[in-house]
């Protein structure tokens, strides 16, 4: 069965290489939810997420011939999407994007452990998207993409220190938001 499915996927990819619309639709149907989810996490508003999602999918289909059928196809797609997301965020902010400097007031705050309460994904997504662009990007890359600060720094062309600082500030903001919800619930 697995071989059958793998063959199916390869068949769709090969159809995409031939610019076959049916194959492209299959790939779209298969991977669009995950990829759209990524776009929503990285972009502040849904319109921007839609724009990047479209553009990244077009790029993916245009570059699909570069996929060598080695490794995860989903991973390959994700790379394209994250590249496009970061490119878009960089364009929006240009030079001011990652110019944060070390701030001892927030950067030295120790991460506090919070009481485990279930929070809906919609809420969590909202908190993430409310973060400033630079904090959100670093948070996404570190927490969800499991990248190290060194890798993030290279990708975003920032220093490791800035990456750490942005992550700390993001966590600090999120912590506050979650605490406020809990307090609200308790009250």
């Amino acid at each position: 069965m697995n071989h059958f499915l793998k063959d199916e996927l390869e068949k769709y990819i090969k159809l995409c290489i031939k610019n076959d619309r049916e194959g492209q639709l299959k790939i779209y149907q298969l991977f669009s939810p995950v990829l759209y989810g990524i776009c929503l996490k990285y972009m502040k508003n849904e319109d921007d997420a839609k724009d990047v999602f479209q553009e990244a999918f077009v790029i993916a289909f245009q570059k699909i011939s570069q996929y060598k059928f080695e490794g995860s196809f989903e991973g390959w797609l994700k790379r394209i999407f994250i590249n496009k997301l970061i490119e878009t965020l960089n364009k929006k902010k240009k030079e001011s994007f990652f110019l944060d400097v070390f701030d001892p007031d927030t950067d030295f705050i120790e991460e506090e452990e919070l009481e485990a309460i279930p929070i809906e994904q919609e809420k969590l997504l909202e908190y993430i998207r409310d973060l400033p662009d630079q904090y959100r990007t670093v948070f996404n890359l570190y927490v969800f993409e499991k990248m190290k600060h060194k890798e993030i720094a290279e990708l975003l062309k920032i220093s490791e220190g800035t990456s750490k600082s942005n992550l700390n500030r993001a966590k600090h903001i999120l912590q506050k938001r979650i605490l406020s919800i809990k307090n609200f619930k308790i009250a």
């Binding site: 995950v34 479209q54 452990e113 890359l141 499991k146």
Partner: protein, 551 residues
Amino acid sequence: MKKQKIEDIFSSMEDFSSVPPPELWSQIEEKLDKPKKKKRVVLWWSAAACLLLGLLLPSILHFTDLSENTNINNGDLENSRNSIVLDKNTNDNSNDRKLDRTKNADKKIDSLNGNDTNNQFNNESGIQVQETSVAETNSKNKSSKKDSKSNVTVPANAPNQSIAYQNFGSSENKSILKSSKKSVLENHIKSSNKGISEERIAFGKQSKFNSTAKKQLSNSIFEEQLSPKNNKNIAFNNQGYSTNNSFANSNAYNSKNSVSDKNETKRTDKAVIIKDDLKITNSLSKTDSMQLAELQNLEKGILTPEKEKEEKEKKDNLINKKERWAVAVFAGVASSENTKNEKTLGNVNDSKQSNSYGVKTKYSINKKWAVGSGLKISELGQSVANVSYVSVKNNAFFAPAASYADSSPVASSDPSRQDYLLISNSTKEAMKNENVQTGKLDQNLRYVEMPLEVSYSVFNKNKASINLNTGGFVGKLISNNVALDGHSIGENMNANDYVYGSTLSSTVQYRVYKKTNVFVEPAVNYYINPLNSQSFNQFQWGLNFGLNVSF
């Protein structure tokens, strides 16, 4: 109550997925139908410019050569007292004609020899006369030579034959030619060889050169930089997998993944649990959905650690391949220096500033090393101040055969043209001639150069980088000019057509936009052989500014 960190709270968002609005697919379809954008317009323009330059320059040089060959090549008659230095280029084919010319030139020679003042001056003073024969490059003059039916007109089948027309006096008046050793001139002019040396400025030639177009590569930076991360993403554990979650639920957000389920997820563990939250759209049948879900699992779980390693290695290689090529355009200033206190006509050669510009390409072998080549227009020059000269045109003393001026086959049709005799300081003192003037002699040799450089990256951080470059170059002479007090008087006959040299430079580069960099490049060049025998400034300092696009 159980405590958890922020990351743990948000871990449920790791595999967050959401079905995109249906209209997005139609918009993507529209974009896919459009022709691809020309993303590499700049690169193509650069390549086209290089190609055009490569095609145009040889063509121009080729046609210049042709026209030059049909005209008279300038030669010289060198005056060592009364002797005439015979030209090495003399060939048998030209001898007969030269003899004819010589017969007719006898009168000129006679008058030259009969010029007692001249001979006495040379015989008695015993000083060294440094003479610079200045050749006329005016095309009108060349055509007048060609059209002339005079004996000194060079036959078309002897394009390389040089005809001297500049002597101790006026070139028009004493146009004497190269001759074989049996020249009848020997009958009229006897050499006494009293240590008279000469220094000439000679004609140069032009010819073709080649240029090459460069292939281009492109790689996405981000794609490659992300590779380490993706290696992590492909380790797998279906611990958190739930078929209930993976399909059949097309809600935008899947909240079934409880936060507490993920408490044990650890960052340090590279085998990240990847759950399949894929939502399949309603357009798929249930069977299809199941198959696709399994397919995704297969995709995620298919890689073994070994394969992961291989993939990482491949991606590392890809990193090395990123932005391997770079094309740069640059322009700058250069200063030719006299480092050995060389002298011309008894005066020290001064430095001379000029401009240089060009294009170059670089290919990165690895992170540190790169090789580069390109095309560069550069100028080597020198100034000699206080050069003594005599304007021959208006000087009867140096124009004994002035009566022949009108019939001279090499007479310039340019009324502004003057002929000059450049003399050394010692000669000037000996002559004590009122007509001796002083002026500034500027000599410029312009080359099109093709360097071959090796580059080493000594610093590369964020947007800035510093490279050290060294290598050699070969240059083709494309322009040769000698100017006296700002007026062009001809060419330097000793200039070599090809010049070789070495170069050392440092490139300080800063990325201003995406793959576009600006750079400044201080450099020092050494030209091995700009002239055959004369001294010439061989060191050149340069400072180039440029724009660099990597791909």
